[in-house]
């Protein structure tokens, strides 16, 4: 949300705010300092074994980035993640467009999809392992299993929100369902589909990492579980910090794209 949007929504509160000290531009800096102080304080409380200090964590993270082993593990995670994301994206798109376009199918299957989305999928891990064994496919399946459902759900809701006049136009032009989906429905539902992709992206990453946590011999999740087994607090926290930074940056970039798509569509709708 931009500053202007927040200001627009909180007119009363904005007037009452008086800067405690400094200008507003210094807020992120103050927040950063407060966060580091809290972290250091928690470190003093928990001790060296419990919670590594900010300095130790950052230097361990830098050490990891400089090591070849880290990049091998990161590459393994990246490969599994890329496959899983492709499966989640294409599968979710195909299922979501079908269920969204054919109303009866959508009504029949939507609650089932929603219910599967809400279950703790981590409990399905034994089944995936029994089927795929300790392979790359197991990681990919687990990642895709996490990412595909938001993709389906958002695609369905995007397609059902497409203006009836668009679908009527497609019918008037006697487009086949496939052509109608490809040239009319999908472009109209794109912003919603992208939101599904954004959420699916982070959940796929989460699923892939959890997969590695349980049963793998390489990948960042494996590094993490090895750190836990050796109670290597600095490595655990350094990896956490790196994963947090990467996924927060990716999430932030996707969110900006998402908002831009929505603004673009609103502008297009307003100009008609």
């Amino acid at each position: 949300m931009t500053d202007a949007e927040i200001r627009g929504q909180t007119p009363f509160l904005e007037k009452r705010v008086r800067p405690l000290f400094g200008r507003k531009g210094s807020d992120p800096f103050l927040f950063g300092v407060a966060f580091l102080l809290l972290w250091q304080g928690a470190h003093e409380l928990a001790g060296e074994q419990g919670l590594a200090s900010p300095w130790v964590t950052v230097s361990r993270a830098a050490e990891l980035i400089g090591s070849a082993a880290f990049w091998q593990h990161a590459g393994a995670t990246g490969l599994a993640f890329a496959y899983a994301l492709a499966v989640a994206l294409l599968g979710g798109l195909a299922i979501g467009l079908t269920l969204g376009y054919f109303r009866l199918a959508g009504d029949v299957f939507e609650p089932i999809v929603g219910a599967i989305y809400s279950i703790p999928k981590i409990t399905l891990y034994p089944i995936i392992l029994l089927i795929f064994g300790l392979t790359l496919s197991a990681k990919v399946a687990f990642g895709a299993l996490h990412g595909i459902f938001p993709m389906i759900i958002f695609t369905i809701s995007g397609v059902s929100a497409v203006k009836p006049v668009f679908r009527k136009t497609a019918r008037t032009l006697r487009l086949s369902p496939l052509a109608a989906i490809r040239t009319v429905v999908m472009p109209a539902a794109l912003p919603e589909i992208f939101t599904g992709f954004r959420i699916g992206f982070s959940l796929t990453l989460l699923g892939t990492l959890i997969g590695e946590l349980f049963a793998s011999d390489r990948g960042l999740g494996f590094m993490l579980i090895r750190g836990i087994e050796h109670s290597d607090a600095a490595t655990i926290l350094a990896l956490t910090l790196l994963l947090f930074t990467i996924s927060a940056l990716a999430g932030w970039a996707l969110l900006r794209l998402d908002r831009r798509l929505r603004r673009y569509q609103q502008a297009a709708a307003a100009s008609h």
Binding site: M1, D3, I6, Q9, T10, P11, F12, L13, V17, P19, D27, P28, F31, A46, Q49, G50, L51, L104, V108, F109, P111, I112, G114, A115, S118, I119, P120, K121, I122, T123, L124, Y125, P126, I127, L129, L130, I199, S202, L205, L206, L209, I210, L213, L224, G227, I228, S231, A233, I236, L237, L239, T240, L243, F244, S247, A248, A250, G251, W252, L255
Partner: protein, 252 residues
């Protein structure tokens, strides 16, 4: 036959069809017993396991943790949401973090929580609450943003104090959004607690499933899995239906 009956009929037919197909594949050995046991046996084993009371303690443990995580998420999520909404400067700094929170695998903090709280139930409650609370915060802020300006002006006209305004105007006006927050907090807390038990725990359903898997006890594993999944789906439909009713009543 009305359309609604047709939809429900087709849905049931699909679900029973899938269960029947799995049953046949298992019985004929196309799916080996080491991979999956027939669904009818899962139900049967679940019945004996529940009746025998062997897992009662684990069920109580898990449900108590989930309840605590939900309570923490809802109470503190609403309070923190109110606080952030009242402090625009803080909000501007926190906003990008809140927006990208669910893109970060929260589980990476679980080992840390074990170190902090010890191997008790509290790291589980904490990870469940960490999962649920941010959904509650986000929905509280969203609801407060949508409180009509006229209502806030009437609060000023009536000279309501800060807390009276929160209690009598802001929270009721934000109610639909708050209920969506509650719904998400409930589902996320369930996921967080059970996943935590699965990773590392002294007791609970998640741990028992993992234990059964590690000892190749497929019957127990699938019975407990069935129990967890059925419960999760029931909870989902309960909060979902409840939210829909609330939204219908609240909408003008």
């Amino acid at each position: 036959m009305s359309r609604r009956q047709l939809v429900v009929g087709l849905r049931l037919a699909f679900l029973f069809g899938v269960a029947g197909a799995v049953e046949i594949l298992c019985r004929t050995g196309r799916i080996p017993r080491l991979t999956m046991i027939p669904p009818s046996e899962m139900v049967q084993h679940l019945g004996t396991a529940l009746a025998g009371g062997r897992y009662t303690a684990d069920i109580v443990f898990t449900f108590a943790n989930i309840g605590a995580a939900i309570a923490i998420s809802i109470v503190f999520g609403t309070l923190i949401g109110l606080g952030i909404h009242a402090l625009p400067r803080l909000r501007r700094v926190l906003d990008p973090m809140l927006a990208s929170y669910y893109s970060v695998p929260t589980f990476v903090f679980y080992p840390l929580l074990i170190v902090l709280f010890g191997l008790t139930r509290w790291p589980l409650v904490a990870i469940g609450a960490m999962f649920g609370i941010v959904a509650m915060i986000l929905n509280t802020i969203m609801g407060l943003d949508r409180v009509p300006r006229a209502l806030m002006k009437s609060a000023q006209v009536f000279r309501l104090g800060r807390w009276a305004t929160v209690w009598r105007i802001k929270l009721p006006a934000a109610a639909p959004s708050l209920f969506t927050g509650v719904k998400l907090a409930v589902t996320y807390s369930v996921i967080g607690v059970i996943a935590g038990e699965f990773i590392l725990s002294v007791a609970g359903l998640g741990r028992q499933i993992k234990f059964a898997y590690d000892s190749l006890d497929n019957q127990t594993m699938y019975a407990l899995l069935l129990f967890v999944l059925t419960t999760a789906v029931l909870v989902y439909f309960l909060v979902h239906g409840w939210e829909r009713r609330i939204h219908r009543r609240w909408s003008p």
